[in-house]
């Protein structure tokens, strides 16, 4: 029953988010601020992780290719597929659930605890729209982060595979182009857009409806990470089943 109540509350929150809109001039500034906080502030960690995970994927693949009948170019093929299909959209989103999700939950939760949300409501402002809508719009720039992550992941794989002496540059480029299906990119970006919405709204729900004090803000951030990850993984399964099988 508690889960059903929470799911109902989540959808009611969404209804409120898309309800009465905040003044457009104020909203524009809020969206720009959220893009800076949520997206630009995450670029460093995304770039770092993408490059090194791409490199590790290439090394692992290369070290497991013992059969001389299997072409070396498969290292690039495997790196490309794992980075585009799963690593960048899904793995990076789980990382973002920790970084961006916790930030959203704790910032909204702190506002709840210190009565700032009540202050907005008393002023006649739709607090759900004011606080959550700009985050959703800002997160729609998330596919750019994932595109950069894909690029850096493959760059990391190239660097590790070529500089590590596992394949030649030509073999890597050949493998990278081998049996490329453009729809895989479409699939990855459809997932990314759905994940962006989840990353903005599930943590916002946990912050907006939290009760208690400073300790509970921390607990809400942890719970938010767990539930955002669960929703991401389940959504990933459903979307993959629908689009690829």
């Amino acid at each position: 029953m508690t889960y059903l109540h929470s799911i109902g509350e989540y959808f009611l929150m969404l209804k409120g988010v898309f309800g009465r809109m905040t003044k457009s001039s104020v909203l524009r500034n809020l969206i720009l601020k959220e893009i800076n906080d949520l997206i630009m502030g995450s670029m460093g960690i995304v770039a770092f992780l993408s490059f090194f995970i791409g490199a590790v994927v290439a090394i692992q693949t290369a070290l497991n290719l013992n059969n001389p009948l299997i072409p070396k170019s498969l290292v690039a093929y495997a790196a490309r597929q794992s980075v585009i299909l799963e690593f960048s959209p899904t793995f990076i989103s789980i990382i973002m659930a920790g970084k961006v999700g916790s930030f959203i939950t704790s910032s909204i939760g702190s506002m709840r605890v210190t009565e700032q949300i009540d202050a907005l409501e008393v002023m006649g402002i739709n607090s759900k729209n004011y606080l959550i809508f700009p985050k959703i719009i800002a997160m729609f720039t998330y596919p750019f982060v994932i595109a950069i992550s894909m690029f850096l992941g493959i760059t990391g794989a190239y660097t590790a595979a070529v500089l590590g002496g596992f394949v030649t540059s030509d073999q890597f480029i050949t493998g990278l182009q081998d049996e490329f299906i453009p729809f895989h990119l479409t699939y990855a970006f459809i997932k990314t857009i759905l994940f962006a919405f989840i990353l903005a709204t599930v943590p916002a729900y946990h912050g907006y409806y939290m009760k208690g004090g400073a300790l509970e803000v921390g607990e809400a951030a942890t719970t938010s990470f767990v539930w955002t990850s669960v929703v991401l993984i389940v959504t990933n399964y459903i979307v993959t089943q629908l689009l690829l099988s």
């Binding site: 905040t22 001039s25 009565e115 700032q116 008393v122 002023m123 006649g124």
Partner: protein, 254 residues
């Protein structure tokens, strides 16, 4: 003027407010006092529209809030100023941005006009140098004054204050009390103030409502509260040693 008629409110089957009738007069500081858990905050939140009453009506200058459309409720809220217990300043904004916030949201003024009004209220609350500071960089008393400035910047008709003195030293508390009273008189505002600070009652209690277990147990003025025979009120008022000694001194004619 705010008129409350037969107000009832409960949560999960438990009554918190039980048939309150009271009139908050315009141009006066109307205090709601009572012990913790007596229903003061719920009463205030009903008046602010944050809680919907189970039964009863709240009329703002003769117009019942429950009959208002959503748009009318929003319009009414623009005429309300609220001072929260902790100030509730937006911690990502400077003092100036906090005060300017209601103007930005609800008026079409130019930035220069808004800045003029912000400087005007900052001057009124004696905080002319604090405009560029963040809320975390100023003291608790200054935060309360900024919150007052934000509450009055849009020239409200109704000002609500939830324990404005909590966490303040007695001298700063007196400054805040006097400021609220002066603003009430200057702007002819209906001010409703929740407190359990008896110093506030002495300073600014022009009209006092005493709540006990969700019921309006007593009403009167600051002069009347110290002479009442009502046991519930005297228990509350003279619970501190200081006031007991004041009463003993009064009785001895000192």
């Amino acid at each position: 003027m705010i008129e409350v008629k037969n107000l009832h409110k409960g949560f999960n089957g438990q009554k918190v407010l039980n048939g309150i009738d009271y009139v908050f007069e315009r141009g006066k500081t109307n205090l709601i006092i009572g012990q913790s858990g007596s229903g003061k905050s719920v009463f205030l939140k009903c008046m602010l529209g944050l809680f919907k009453p189970d039964t009863g009506t709240i009329e703002y200058d003769g117009k019942p809030y429950s009959n208002f459309s959503d748009e009318e409720q929003r319009e009414l809220r623009k005429e309300m100023g609220m001072l929260f217990q902790g100030g509730a300043l937006f911690d990502s904004m400077t003092v100036e941005e906090n005060i300017m916030f209601p103007l930005k949201m609800f008026t079409k003024q130019r930035k220069s006009e808004m800045l003029n009004r912000v400087n005007e209220v900052l001057e009124r609350v004696n905080l002319t140098d604090a405009g560029s500071k963040m809320p975390s960089e100023i003291s608790g008393g200054m935060q309360k004054r900024v919150a007052i400035a934000r509450a009055i910047v849009n020239k409200p008709k109704y000002l609500f204050c939830d324990e404005p003195n909590s966490g303040l030293d007695p001298k700063t508390a007196t400054v805040i009390d006097n400021l609220i009273q002066e603003l009430t008189h200057e702007n002819d505002i209906t001010t409703v103030l929740i407190t359990h600070d008896m110093n506030s009652v002495l300073e600014i209690g022009e009209r006092i409502a005493f709540l006990k277990n969700g019921v309006l147990a007593w009403k009167g003025t600051k002069d009347e509260i110290f002479n009442t025979d009502d046991e519930a009120v005297t228990d509350f008022v003279y619970s501190s040693d200081l006031f007991q000694k004041v009463r003993e001194a009064q009785q001895k004619g000192l």
